[in-house]
């Protein structure tokens, strides 16, 4: 599996032309998801699947559709210095790995520090089976709040960068002119069948995240993928009518706010910021309520940000067309 990964990466170097590179990138994503599965990292594989299968190649494709797929040949003489640099750095890093604990050993430092506590006590303290979710949403909730804010900021940054100049930044207030869409009857019918399942599955992932793999991050991405698929097949104006861009932008902020307000609530109830035990009389119930609330916030924020990013890129694509 890992050898296949390396082969893909080498192919990526050798191949010229951006569309081919994108396809190899998507193969690379699939492979790394399979690798995460064999490493027991279900949640990570889940996220990689949701991101790598739909959104990530799509954003690259949209960019390439805007900037063109040609790639200039690189100068052979210019390759020598990078090659040397890379070889030296790589050799140093490999010498460094010799000091690492051997792969999979249960007494490596990483395994003996805080992880046993999470594994042994989260069952009693948080009361949900998926340890990844309880660490993500409760023990390390500050960290996750930071991540959500980073994603939110990234959405804002994309909007700032891609809003057409001279329109005061809110170019998406007026929907773009209807574009000419070739009839895709088959695709439209099949997708109409599948999109509800995608959205439904996103909700399943969202609310099943405490018991199995899943959670707000994955659910948000899957939900956004469904919407993006709709937008691809029915055109940007249609999907903008279904979910208007201003609504999505507000929702992104609302998602982050839900997260923060949950923390403030627990603060008001007399415990620490984001200590959900304060949210109910019984600490474990409080933890449950808190985790569901912040996972909801994460899901809304992630879905909204990714849809916003798609709108920004697709809007750019169509303004260039005329």
């Amino acid at each position: 599996m890992l050898c296949l990964l390396v082969a893909t990466a080498i192919a990526l170097i050798a191949v010229r032309g951006l569309l081919a590179s994108i396809m190899l990138t998507s193969v690379y994503g699939l492979l790394s998801a399979s690798f995460f599965v064999t490493m027991d990292a279900v949640d990570v594989a889940f996220t990689e699947a949701a991101v790598g299968a739909g959104v990530s190649p799509l954003l690259l494709l949209l960019t390439v559709a805007i900037v063109g797929r040609r790639e200039a040949a690189s100068n052979a003489r210019r390759l020598v210095v990078p090659l040397l640099l890379v070889t030296v750095t790589g050799a140093l890093l490999i010498i460094g790995t010799l000091d690492m604990p051997s792969f999979g050993s249960p007494d490596a430092p990483a395994q003996t520090h805080v992880a046993p506590r999470y594994l042994q006590q989260s069952g009693d303290e948080i009361g949900i089976p998926n340890v990844v979710t309880s660490v993500l949403a409760s023990y390390r909730a500050y960290d996750t709040l930071g991540e959500v804010l980073v994603i939110f900021t990234a959405g804002v940054a994309v909007l700032l960068a891609l809003a057409p100049a001279g329109q005061g930044g809110s170019a998406r207030a007026e929907p773009p002119a209807p574009e000419h869409l070739a009839p895709h009857t088959i695709l439209q019918v099949v997708s109409k069948l599948l999109i509800p399942f995608m959205l439904l599955f996103a909700f399943y992932v969202q609310f099943h995240g405490e018991y199995g793999p899943g959670g707000g991050f994955q659910a948000g991405v899957i939900f956004a993928s469904g919407i993006i698929l709709y937008g691809l097949l029915y055109g940007l104006p249609t999907v903008c009518r279904v979910i208007p861009p201003p609504v999505v932008e507000v929702l992104a902020a609302v998602g982050a706010l839900i997260y923060g307000l949950t923390g403030v609530l627990s603060l008001l109830a007399g415990k620490n910021f984001l200590d959900y035990s304060a949210l109910a009389a019984d600490p474990v119930t409080g933890q449950h309520i808190g985790i569901i609330a912040i996972e909801l916030g994460v899901g809304i924020a992630v879905a909204a940000v990714i849809i916003t990013i798609y709108y920004a890129f697709a809007g750019r694509l169509h303004t260039r067309e005329d």
Partner: protein, 113 residues
Amino acid sequence: MSTLWLWASDACLLIGSFLLLTGALGFLRFPDFYARIHACGVTETLATGFVLLGLLLRSDDAMPQVKLVLILLFVLFSSPTASHALAKAAWNAGVRPRDNSGKRRVSLPHTDP
């Protein structure tokens, strides 16, 4: 789970693997793009069906079975759709099938608007 089911499952997995290999062979050896899409698309759905059926016969729990049936349904919907979309994209971009000599381009009724 009885031995009979295991046997049946093994048989399904074997057929599925064989079909996967034929599909890969076609994908590797066929001369032009539309033939390759055919090799992929046709064998793929059947092979996927057999492998998933083989796995289905292996499980005795309800939840994995439901999930496998869902996977099978989704693949049966989305895989031919993807092939269709891809063939359409290739046609749009001007890729044309070849005839037996492998050189001359076949003149098909032009469906472009």
